[in-house]
């Protein structure tokens, strides 16, 4: 779990006096020490663990620092550029920047990059790159222009890949963005045009990038409020050629694009992204850490005094300007397990149904595009295009559908949805389905009369929906008493909260039989007591007697007899289901659902007494049925298991014991249940005794087969 720890402020000089906040925060050659360059005239060296500045340098009045100071890791000296062209190199002992080494360059510098393992690299505004050593040898050397005159570098970053530096910079020209990847060791440079969405003229506001061995992942925040990822190869297949890099949506709508101070991104690790900006709902600036794999918010923090919209991340610290001072937020990310949070899982999975479909497969949904590129890295860019082409229509189709949902008729939506679902599943199918469901729900909430049952059923049947993807769906279905949809949800959702499960249960118990009759509920999990009653009444009776139960139970209500359409003798009362098959099917789906006891108990208390009694009676009936055969299972496809029945009985009694004891009709039921359980216990204790005897017998048998100390045997060798 990622967590932002308590922040602290680095005291000292007030910063951010210039118009652009800070120029930069850079690592120095000592761990824990950072060079902070103000956009005015000051450079401060901070020791973070001590929370104090170690040194501060300023340029003369009238000069402006134009490029953040960096540390040359090979020599330990600091380098900065002021007034675009003047290079200054100094070290800790120097007091004034006026008297230190100075070199005036021929061209304007954009940034100096310095990373461990290589000399600092100077990126000129026209896109040329030079090593500092070579530059200092001949400061006035000619610097070529790599990018055209109208292009301007927006952002840049350096990476070390296999010990070789790779420089990435983004340029903008009339709203078109290009990425240049420059491999220093080979001098190869390649240009990628960043493809933006078709319809909008969005502006890229901020950038972040990370690298693994083969590709650079460029994260961009676009003015449409979404964050996109673009993958660029570190070693292009054909350098020199212009290529188009397609972006994919990472996360959307988490910060407002209209933030005053802009939005800053920082990649914390493979899955975590820090975003600084104003939330959509407005308000103060807020730093949030997102898990981009699961699209969940991990941590967030508000900054009431405003920020400069800049964010730096080194090691385990996030740096930002909060008010007038530099604030450091230690950041920790620990591994967490999803399974730990899930509680009790479903007990039995029918062998025919593939179990995987219950869970959203994040690996495939997220990495699908990447995975497909892996086998043939050289053709990567091309592949991206293909993927983009195939996924683009899906995205737009879902968008189209969302538009339809907003104002179309129920029929129309259903037709469109069917079309959408019939199309080939795209990598972001999960999210698209989630969006559609959310869209439908939104409209349902807005228009009480609107209830597209068919659409919702179709969506649930895709097996990709889960409760957390559309939190309001089941509540809505409960509200509309749509038992059919609820049954589907209970069957397909792995993550239903106990509160909702209980609401379903209550609905299933309370809904009128006449209404149930109309619905089309799948009753495959129901044991057809009608058949059993016909075939084996004698046997059943005998077994019950054997188990020590007086079969003359008169506890069963006879409300269902009419529905059963068969007269039943008093001896068989216990064997006739107290609920209709359809209701039984619904209750079975509740029995099958996953839950954790502690969360379920308080909600079970809310069920009225007569419903509790009915459910208990049904459970008792199932229990009796289970006990009829040696395997302790119910017949039929996918029936509730004995454990589920027992667990629910115990839970129900635990939650409602005082109530149930007071209800007269339940008392009888409790008594017979108690008698039956007691009889079962005595049977099982006898069985335990027999088991011991059998074990002894088996042991004796084994000893017999074990040979004595001496024997003469016949052996045939062949």
């Amino acid at each position: 779990m990622a967590a932002l720890e308590e922040e602290f402020t680095l005291p000292g000089v007030p910063l951010g006096s210039g118009p652009d906040g800070l120029l930069g925060v850079e690592q120095s050659d000592k761990a824990d020490q950072f060079l902070v360059t103000d956009s005015g005239r000051t450079v401060v060296l901070y020791k973070v663990s001590d929370q104090k500045p170690l040194g501060s340098w300023s340029v003369q009045q009238g000069q402006t620092i134009t490029c953040p100071a960096v540390c040359n890791f090979q020599t330990g000296e600091y380098i900065l550029v002021h007034d675009n062209k003047v290079l200054r190199i100094w070290n800790n002992e120097d007091v004034s920047l006026d008297k230190v080494f100075k070199a005036t360059l021929a061209a304007e510098v954009f940034r100096i990059h310095s990373v461990h393992g290589t000399e600092p690299l100077v990126l000129f505004k026209r896109g040329a790159v030079r090593g500092v050593e070579a530059l200092l040898a001949e400061p006035q050397q000619e610097v070529e222009a790599v990018i055209s005159d109208e292009e301007a570098i927006k952002w840049t970053k350096i990476f070390m890949v296999f010990k070789h530096p790779i420089l990435l910079f983004i340029t903008e020209k009339h709203g078109a963005y290009s990425a240049y990847v420059h491999v220093l060791s080979s001098g190869a440079s390649s240009k990628y045009t960043l493809a933006l969405g078709r319809e909008d003229r969005s502006v890229l506001q901020s950038f972040a990038a990370s690298v693994d061995r083969k590709r650079i992942s460029l994260i961009t925040f676009s003015s449409d409020g979404c964050i996109y990822e673009t993958l660029l190869p570190t070693h292009p297949s054909d350098p020199g050629k212009d290529q188009v890099a397609v972006r994919s949506l990472v996360i959307k709508g988490i910060v407002s694009e209209k933030a005053q101070s802009g939005v800053a991104l920082s990649i914390l690790d493979r899955d975590h992204l820090a975003v600084l900006g104003t939330p959509l709902s407005g308000g103060k600036d807020c730093l949030s850490v997102w898990n981009i794999k699961f699209q969940t918010l991990q941590a967030s923090k508000e900054f009431p005094q405003g920020t400069s919209g800049q964010l730096w991340y080194y090691g385990e610290h996030l740096f930002m300007l909060h008010g007038r001072f530099l604030t450091v937020i230690p950041y920790k990310c620990e591994a967490s397990s999803l399974a730990g949070a899930l509680g009790k899982l479903k007990h039995s999975v029918e062998p025919g149904i593939p179990a995987m479909s219950h869970f959203v497969n994040w690996e495939t949904s997220q990495d699908c595009g990447l995975e497909s590129q892996k086998p043939e890295p050289p053709k990567r860019t091309l592949r991206t295009k293909n993927v983009a082409v195939s996924s683009q229509p899906a995205v737009s189709a879902s968008r189209q559908l969302l538009l339809t949902i907003k104002n179309g008729t129920e029929k129309h939506i259903e037709v469109e949805l069917r079309k959408f679902l019939a199309a080939k599943q795209s990598p972001d199918f999960h999210t698209a389905v989630g969006d559609i469901a959310a869209g439908l729900l939104g409209r349902c909430q807005a228009e009480p009369s609107f209830y597209p049952r068919g659409c919702l059923t179709q969506l649930v049947q895709t097996h990709v929906l889960s409760h957390s993807l559309c939190p309001g769906l089941m509540d809505l279905a409960v509200e509309k008493a749509d038992v059919q949809l609820l049954q589907l949800c209970l069957q397909h959702f792995p993550d239903i909260p106990e509160r909702t499960t209980c609401a379903c249960l209550q609905l299933f118990l309370s809904i009128g039989d006449d209404r149930l009759q109309e619905t089309d509920v799948s009753t495959e999990s129901v044991f057809h007591c009608g058949d059993a009653g016909q075939e084996e009444p004698m046997e059943m009776q005998k077994e019950i007697l054997e188990n020590g139960v007086q079969a003359a139970g008169d506890q069963c209500s006879d409300c269902d007899r009419g529905l059963q359409g068969r007269p039943l003798g008093s001896n068989e009362e216990a064997s006739s289901s107290p609920v209709t098959p359809k209701r039984a099917a619904l209750l079975n789906s509740v029995l099958h659902s996953a839950y954790s006891e502690a969360c379920l108990l308080p909600h079970l208390k809310d069920i009225p007494a007569q419903h509790v009694t009915l459910f208990l009676r049904y459970l008792y009936f199932l229990y009796l049925k289970c006990s009829e055969n040696a395997a302790l299972t119910l017949p039929g496809t996918h029936p509730p298991s004995l454990n589920q029945i027992m667990d629910w009985t115990c839970l129900l009694l635990d939650a409602n014991f005082t109530v149930v004891v007071m209800v007269p009709e339940a008392k009888q039921l409790l008594t017979s249940l108690y008698k039956f359980v007691k009889a079962q216990i005595s049977v099982y204790s006898e069985l335990n005794k027999i088991q011991v005897s059998f074990q002894e017998l088996q042991k004796l048998n084994q000893e017999k087969t074990r040979t004595e100390l001496y024997s003469i045997e016949v052996l045939e060798l062949f």
Partner: protein
């Protein structure tokens, strides 16, 4: 091959002694193992882990410490206070020196190998100089309060660490004074325990001292400052042993719970130079205390009270995935403890301090494969003969006719004459054994029981003639001049013309008994011989080597036989070569010279030389299920190797007559039942 009647014998109540120390020698890739009864065994790790030498134990000489010095010299120290050096050529004890410090608990040879350090009961640490033929006391270090249980040299040889009770001392070798005393926390899980015994220390070249103690801790100390750097709580019981690899990048510790833990020096983060010791792998191959561990470059070796020697290869160090990469568990000695009189159907069992003579039972019934026949007469325990004195028995033998029995300890040789009257047996020692017959490494009677062959340590082979009640010395074959090599294996031809002997390293010598002179030497082979036998009528010598090769050498023609050449040309079946226990006995039946019976611990095999050899595609081990199938299947896969794995672990198999076998089994359960109870560990759910 046909049906055999098998006497399945399980009454040989043999229990190996627990392992006390192990010492690994990097130069020769050999492992010395000492057992609680004082026996010292040498395993050749290059020769398929064959136990090539052993020194018999002695009741008063319990070994507490074992170490190699000056390359190939082996020293031990024990509770009798003596330092013992072993003669690895003659297989005798070279000398013993009293250290005058009470029982010796620890030994350590200096990195150069020229000095020997011992830790004594009285708290003294004594330094001995190793001279070319002896050791010489040099000086004492500062005396400590209590016994010195463990010692370790710094690889530079300037300092030593000594583990005592409750503390570890660091000595400067030059001055002999203690520079640091590091007190170990006595508390164990917050409870104050009485004493904390430092069972082992290891001094690393960077100055770190690793200690293992009775509180279950592995601790890292800085010897320069005398401070505790790091502590690992490993077990609820004692950690009893430690061994560090030569590269000092990994070490192994053994606990009283039977677990062996591997520690490795690993980088804190990838591509970072900072490294730390991390407990990487636990191994649970033992049920009882792991008293000793060793670290070879490719394997972790451990042994303890449960008598197994376990060699666990480190998979990351094994370059080729051959059979050496498999776990080895050595439980039984690689020599014969049982001899048999075919005529009288007697079995002689050799224990450490006594012999047992049994007569096999009989049956009148017949049956088919797998039947257990009803006994008409049960096996009789005829005799139990206890040795005099504290020495263990080295070897023993009963003559084929059953009238003679001989055994030897390290200093005495005994020959007995047995006489039978109905069911009773009487035993009479043959007096006046000549002085040169002091100790024997191997005793063998000729087929007609008129000759006795004794291989004595130092190398000479004595030949005696036996006649009613007395015996006389006939001849002695002296080893080739200038060599001292003990002969461990003997074989005589059934017609009494030839005698073959094999030593620990050099080849097999064949002597003519008619002319009483050496006949020839079998071409040398790289791997030690594990068993020898001469076939009847053809006088072919069959030799099994520790790499599982079997050769047949014709003595009269002085060359390998045609069959042996064919076998070598085609090669043995890969499964045959992958067996991990050596063949310890080869035997023939007089009427069937074409059939060779041989066995190791897990199978016995009759090789029918008339049948074709199996190739790698054919089934070497015929599955037992074939018996139930039709003969068609059986005929399709006939090959020379008729193997049965029905009886195991096997200590002895012999052909009593054409259709009768005796197989002596020693089930592991029976051994475990006789061991002391292990430390009880709470298991989940009990």
């Amino acid at each position: 091959m046909g049906e055999f009647r098998v006497h399945r014998v399980r009454f040989f109540n043999y229990v190996p002694s627990g392992i006390r120390c192990v010492a690994y020698n990097n130069h020769s890739n050999r492992l010395a193992v000492s057992r609680t009864d004082g026996t010292v065994e040498i395993y050749n790790l290059s020769a398929n882990y064959f136990q090539e030498k052993f020194f018999p134990g002695h009741e008063s000489r319990s070994t507490e410490a074992l170490c190699w010095a000056k390359g190939q010299r082996l020293f031990s120290g024990g509770l009798n206070g003596e330092i013992v050096e072993y003669d690895l050529q003659a297989l005798t004890i070279k000398y013993s020196v009293d250290a005058f410090g009470g029982p010796i608990w620890s030994l350590a040879a200096s990195p150069s190998g020229s000095q020997l350090l011992i830790g004594c009961e009285d708290g003294s640490v004594k330094l001995f100089q190793i001279t070319s033929d002896k050791i010489q006391f040099e000086r004492n270090f500062d005396r400590q309060k209590s016994r010195i249980l463990s010692l370790s040299w710094h690889p530079s040889g300037t300092h030593i660490a000594a583990g005592s009770i409750d503390y570890i001392s660091v000595f400067d070798v030059k001055s002999g004074s203690a520079t640091h005393k590091m007190i170990v926390d006595r508390r164990y899980m917050g409870v104050s325990k009485r004493k904390c015994v430092i069972w082992g220390v290891a001094f690393l070249s960077d100055g770190t001292v690793i200690s293992v103690d009775s509180a279950g801790k592995v601790q890292f100390w800085d010897s320069a400052t005398g401070t505790l750097v790091k502590s690992h709580l490993l077990a609820n019981a004692d950690v009893q042993s430690i061994a560090v690899s030569d590269q000092e990048d990994s070490f192994v510790v053994g606990t009283a719970e039977g677990t062996v833990f591997h520690f490795q020096l690993v980088s804190v983060a990838s591509n970072s130079t900072e490294k730390q010791w991390v407990r990487t792998k636990p191994f649970q191959h033992h049920t009882h205390d792991v008293r000793a561990v060793a670290h070879s470059p490719t394997a972790l070796i451990s042994g303890g009270t449960d008598t197994h020697l376990v060699i666990r290869p480190l998979m990351e160090k094994v370059e080729v995935k051959n059979y050496d990469a498999a776990l080895r568990k050595i439980t039984f000695p690689h020599r014969r403890l049982v001899s048999c009189s075919k005529k009288k159907q007697l079995l002689l069992f050799q224990f450490a301090h006594h012999l047992e003579l049994w007569r096999l039972g009989a049956t009148a019934a017949t049956g088919k494969n797998g039947d257990v026949l009803p006994l008409s007469k049960n096996a009789d325990h005829l005799l139990e003969l206890k040795t005099k004195g504290p020495e263990n028995i080295i070897c023993s033998s009963v003559s084929p006719c059953g009238n003679w029995m001989a055994y030897s300890t390290a200093s005495r040789f005994f020959l007995y004459r047995l006489s039978y009257e109905h069911d009773s047996i009487s035993l009479q020692r043959v007096p006046k054994t000549p002085a040169f017959l002091r100790s024997a490494l191997q005793i063998l009677f000729s087929e007609d029981s008129t000759w006795l062959f004794v291989a004595s340590s130092q190398g000479p082979l004595h030949i005696m003639q036996l006649s009613a009640g007395c015996f006389q010395h006939l001849h002695t074959f002296q080893p080739p001049s200038g060599t001292v090599e003990a002969m461990c294996l003997l074989a005589v031809s059934p017609d009494g013309h030839w005698l073959a002997s094999s030593g620990t390293s050099a080849g097999v010598h064949v002597y003519s008994l008619k002319q009483l002179k050496p006949h020839c030497t079998v071409p040398a082979y790289n791997f030690p011989v594990t068993a020898l036998a001469i076939a009847p009528s053809t006088n072919n010598l069959v030799i099994a080597h520790s790499d599982q090769q079997v050769f047949e050498y014709s003595i009269p023609e002085k060359q390998y036989t045609e069959w042996s050449r064919t076998v070598q040309k085609q090669g043995f079946h890969y499964l045959w070569l992958q067996r991990d226990t050596p063949i310890t006995h080869i035997s023939f039946h007089a009427k069937r010279p074409m059939h060779i019976l041989l066995h190791d611990t897990y199978m016995f095999c009759i090789i029918d030389k008339a049948l074709p050899l199996p190739n790698d595609k054919s089934l070497l081990y015929n599955p037992p299920s074939l018996t139930s199938e039709s003969g068609v299947v059986r005929r399709r896969t006939p090959h020379a190797f008729k193997i049965s794995k029905k009886y195991k672990p096997l200590l002895f198999v012999e052909l009593l007559d054409e259709r009768t076998l005796v197989a002596v089994e020693r089930p592991l359960d029976a051994i475990i039942a006789q061991l002391p109870p292990p430390i009880k560990k709470k298991k989940f759910g009990t």
